[in-house]
Assembly symmetry: C2
């Protein structure tokens, strides 16, 4: 939300900003707050591609279902990060970062989300996963399709108050369902085909939409629903969003889906994988071999790369090694700055983190628009 | 080393820079290298307060005593980082980053450093630590004073070749010597007074200087020697340099010492500590309480702060907590950007790292000259 817009819209109401407590640039005390941190405010914006977040009475407004998806994703944290960042990106198609502020979901409670994620049963009629059919065979049982649900609220400003402008719901569907036949027993897997992921996702989305419309606050706002295919637990990248729908006020079933053609890779590719773009893989390979040649006993240079419509969205490169001195880290980082500039694809965001067994030692980053990498070496007094 | 200076000095010699392998901006192939990465080059410079590092035949030139100090410092890695960064800073007083390049020490070998760090004995006449007097009493035994030695080489350019312009030697003296009476037994401590740290440091420095002058390559260059007091193993900050000497060509004993009045603190201070500067401690306390109020269950907000001549040099702040979503990390980081700007001391470099049990999640940084914090959230596809 642009500062100028905010200032204009705040004109005419009396604001008492005290010396500490309010973030001046983004304060939006509802109804003219009088003390340090009463009322609703925004976090401020680190850059204009990010949403500001909602603060209430000086505290961050956490999700009403906080922690539920986290537990569900304990086995592959990568799914959690890529799911949430991806959901923000889908939302940006509908809710621009200059007009809307972000609030963690306030309409789905912990117990609601827990019940929905569970199987349907006599005691849990709201379960969105199928009833158990009693089988424990990987191919005959009814798998758990729905792995996570997340609500994000998008707020607009009316008469110096924040009101709900729309919500986004992310639905994560398993590509592999991991299960046990006995408590503490071995883990078995049921594979779920892409066709099933898509069909189950759409079915669940329709049901979720109709349930949400029964809440009076959500009757009359646009509801974006995005479908995500979870990566398997052994994957070194998270899953990906494959379609989303924008559902206008009062609509109770999804009328059309837009597809998202997105896929993430880990470089170096395994022998069985085909390259999404040979230029990118060559760039990475050249970078990797230069860097490995430069520094003794590097233990790993890998990258996550994400593609949308076969175009590279960005790369996260991880370099791991043992360092024997801080000067090695400083000089290695300086070298990387030149080498990355020279070898890696341009015009896409690239992050490089350099770690040892003691954790992250330095990192480099270049945004899509920037010409040069910036670098930072973590220091200690 | 400024790029323009480099280009000028390289005029007149033929350079064959191939498409890959050389860092064009800083290539200094000695004698007109013909293949991708033959000869001597520099790493490039991330900013002009840093030295460029020396590369030979495409490889980073590592220290001849690589790994020796590291083992010595296993019990408090903070000593290692602060020792090496501090040694670079002392060196900058004598060897400017615009004229000199940095090379890891090439004159002291692993075995030399190991022998010097050991006790003097029949089998090791070169040991710089005192002979054992047989006692195991904390107050009667001869403690290990000398904990680490590091050599740094500073190179200048002559006739398109790098030649040695001077060296810096860092000498780390224990403030506490940890020892065992029996292998795998309990650890005992001998405290070493500040007066002893200083006296022993000076004595060892003189001996080191006279030994170095016996090497023909080191006869005729300035040798800077800096003395460091090691922090105890339970310290949450490293030790500090307390004096240094600049020894002109051929001088074999130190004629004068300059004192360095430097001390590092951990905020919040313990009850028994007095505040180095009440403004800074108040700033930190306000920042900490605002941040803790903002975000639920923060598990820690601490800072390292370093002072020279009672002036704040900079702060490293660590914030640790559990996050339940990527959106929490993004919004917390945006909030920190405003809060840090508002509460923390200005005109000094400040780093803030935000970590969870999964490692660093985001970080913010402001240089001494910059007006605003930059931030970066670590992402994953």
């Amino acid at each position: 939300m642009k500062r100028i817009r905010l200032i204009v819209s705040l004109l005419g109401i009396i604001l008492f900003l005290s010396a500490c407590g309010n973030l001046d640039s983004s304060s939006m005390s509802s109804g003219g707050g009088t003390s340090t941190s009463k009322g609703t405010q925004l976090t401020g914006q680190s850059d204009d591609s990010q949403y500001e977040g909602v603060i209430k009475n000086g505290k961050y407004v956490t999700s009403k279902s906080r922690g539920v998806s986290n537990t569900q994703n304990a086995d592959n944290q990568l799914n959690l990060k890529s799911f949430e960042t991806g959901l923000l990106n889908v939302s940006k198609n509908e809710f621009s970062t200059s007009k809307y502020a972000f609030r963690e979901g306030q309409y789905l409670s912990k117990s609601t989300v827990s019940n929905w994620l569970d199987r349907e049963s006599k005691s849990n009629p709201d379960g969105l996963n199928p009833k158990s059919n009693g089988s424990t065979s990987p191919t005959k049982r009814n798998p758990i399709y729905l792995q996570q649900i997340e609500e994000q609220d998008y707020m607009i400003q009316k008469d110096s108050k924040l009101t709900l402008g729309g919500i986004t719901i992310g639905i994560g569907i398993n590509s592999v369902d991991y299960y046990k036949k006995a408590q503490y027993g071995a883990t078995y897997e049921t594979d779920i085909s892409n066709a099933q992921v898509k069909a189950q996702g759409r079915k669940i989305a329709n049901e979720v939409l109709s349930r949400l419309r029964k809440k009076s606050a959500l009757k009359n706002v646009p509801i974006v629903i995005a479908l995500y295919k979870q990566a398997s637990n052994d994957s070194l990248v998270g899953g990906n969003f494959f379609s989303y729908s924008v559902n206008k006020n009062e609509s109770t079933s999804v009328s059309s889906w837009k597809s998202i053609n997105q896929k993430s890779y880990v470089f170096p590719l395994s022998d069985s994988q085909s390259s999404p773009n040979t230029n990118d893989t060559t760039s990475f390979t050249n970078f990797k071999s230069q860097v490995e040649d430069f520094f003794p006993n590097l233990s790993g240079v890998t990258a996550q790369a994400q593609y949308t419509d076969k175009q590279l969205d960005g790369m996260n490169i991880k370099i791991t090694t043992q360092f024997y001195s801080q000067t090695e880290i400083i000089n290695f980082t300086q070298y990387l700055q030149s080498a990355a500039q020279k070898y890696l694809p341009s015009n896409v965001p690239i992050d490089i983190t350099v770690s040892s067994t003691d954790g992250v030692q330095s990192f480099l980053s270049r945004t899509a628009k920037a010409k040069k990498f910036t670098s930072h070496v973590f220091n200690s007094y």
